[in-house]
Symmetry: C2
Subunit: 419 residues, 2 copies
Amino acid sequence: MARKNAFYAQSGGVTATINTTACAVIETARKHGNRIGKVYAGRDGIIGALTEDLIDTSKEPAAAIRALRHTPGGAFGSCRYKLKGLEESRAQYERLIEVFRAHDIGYFLYNGGNDSADTSYKVSQFAQKLGYPLVCVGIPKTVDNDLAITDCCPGFGSVAKYVATSIREAGYDVASMARTSTRVFILEVMGRHAGWITAACGLAQDKDGEAPHILLFPEIPFDQDRFLARVDEIIRKHGYCAIGVSEGVRTPDGKFLSESGLRDAFGHAQLGGVAPLLAQLVKDKLKQKYHWAVADYLQRSARHIASKTDALQSYAVGKAAVELAVKGRSGVMPIIVRKSSRPYRWAIGVAELKDIANAEKMMPRDYITADGFHITAKCREYLAPLVQGEDYPPYQNGLPAYVKLKNAAVPRKLAAFKI
Amino acid sequence: MARKNAFYAQSGGVTATINTTACAVIETARKHGNRIGKVYAGRDGIIGALTEDLIDTSKEPAAAIRALRHTPGGAFGSCRYKLKGLEESRAQYERLIEVFRAHDIGYFLYNGGNDSADTSYKVSQFAQKLGYPLVCVGIPKTVDNDLAITDCCPGFGSVAKYVATSIREAGYDVASMARTSTRVFILEVMGRHAGWITAACGLAQDKDGEAPHILLFPEIPFDQDRFLARVDEIIRKHGYCAIGVSEGVRTPDGKFLSESGLRDAFGHAQLGGVAPLLAQLVKDKLKQKYHWAVADYLQRSARHIASKTDALQSYAVGKAAVELAVKGRSGVMPIIVRKSSRPYRWAIGVAELKDIANAEKMMPRDYITADGFHITAKCREYLAPLVQGEDYPPYQNGLPAYVKLKNAAVPRKLAAFKI
């Protein structure tokens, strides 16, 4: 294939290390100047391709691209926008190819979760059908750790390190206050469907009696009486109780617990916040003082406490994606393959996009203890390597020094397109 | 004065660096073996003294005490328990002296906020009245930064670094998502009365347009219309809006905003959480997607991102307290004196406990912009040095390695005392 430009876009919820992958893509592409011309990034993800709103990354100096490695968020903008099926959204797929043709784009690199793998797969099929030469490579990313086939997802290890560190630290705090004040601390973490992030909280507990004492997973239906009995038992035994809870915890009838309780002054259901709801329960039923925290975006943007393993893997998948692309491998995604847990050894493998698209990897039941309230040794063995190593960003004036790119637009060549 | 034992206790809400101070107290006392015998710590603060529940810190090896320097929480337990006036609570003051006499305690070192300074002062007065030789030295600590006379409070700089880092990071996240998803992010931070922690969020904004765009202080009555207009204006201008809000924000009639809105399913006011309330407002009135986080204990226990300046000052006040004690200086507290802001130079000074007791240092009005929504250059100049420098804890298996002490009890010599 002749020298072609590459299109790169970030999709879905961002992570502390998706820019690490972006850094790898651009740095690696720059090393393959004989095959890849410029890397154009989609402004706000795939929307940038549809609207011909392309960013010319060649305008960024090497130092700025290097700084992406340690910068959270999505440097080019991400989006929550899913292309539908080929028949339903034919005009959009045609538009993509039109934009790629206008800008001599021969590589499509799409960095996201399972929806994005699906989009990449469909784009590759459509281009083939049209006879447009386009190499489509997906690149994994998601804090939810729910992609199929890959052993873990870039972005997850850093969230895992953040939540485990946070609940360990808060545990030390609550333990000191328990005699006369707070006895129950609740940390709400992300995970609508899969309990991977909640499970990572469990890494903070090295010994019985340490925080967290209870974990509530989306995979285990919430049983109020069992929960309260367990909190009570732990307070009696250890003096305090630290709880990690997934935002996606559900009642036995399958509804989100967070939507079951609180109403605003007008009677509307309050959106979000399972932690305050559990806190209220602890207060009403056990008469215990509580504190609660909702980490929300802090957990997935906490680049200051990124896992080195995660940063290395996030870089490696970006590099591998470009290497696959220049080899003409289309319809694939680089993945993380675990060779061994102790000592931890991993390598980059390759999966078919169609096998990853729209699949969801849930927590195996044997990663959760029989009583449903904690993680097993097997789960620890899986999770522990992913948080290994520190990868501090540089600091300036006491705060992490993150980069903002110029994000210069590529001049438009086509008529406007309404999305 | 002959060689005497010392009593040390931690009081009130703990911080990421109160154990740094404890480390300094014990290490410094060990260097003054000619004047100080053992350091006995109160288990759960002053309650440990009243109940004769003393911890023998001499049982801890030097390495464990050294590790306190980087361990969050309160290693001996803290408490929220205030001794009342000398007349009202005479029996308690008598009991304290009885316990001190029984254990040959000649030094009273009390590590806390303004309530604790008050207690230290009263204990010193009472001992004097009784003719019991007791050197009473207060040691400052509070994340609220609201102690009088001292330029800043040990513990505050680390919270400041945490909240500024967190809102900067979340700002990068929201900026990436704003095109199709979240446009408003709200971080709730501590501060019931004084807006120092909220102000620290403002340090994250280096340039106009960066996060945080709006700060809501307890010092400025909340005006819903002005707030919503400002959020709307910022979204139009910058595409997204990051907000730092103090838990203590009040309505114009002086009520906590957090208590004004949400009700649980039974109509009870929801406890805590001004962030979800503002989020609901943004959704209802501006129809914008939002995310919110409540940092709660995470902010004051985040030793993993402690400020080096804060850690040095926290150690320095502990060391100075012991040095003052062995010189027989009673009724005083070591404080931080600022010599210069640029370059930052500070020294340890000495204040009278009676001048610190029960006073509260609010944010000066000229630290807040005229419109009430951000901090001024003057405020930045004050805050910036306090977050300088990193002071990472050691890590083991990917997580911060914090110490748990043995906390061996000193054998009791007296009859039980009911508090």
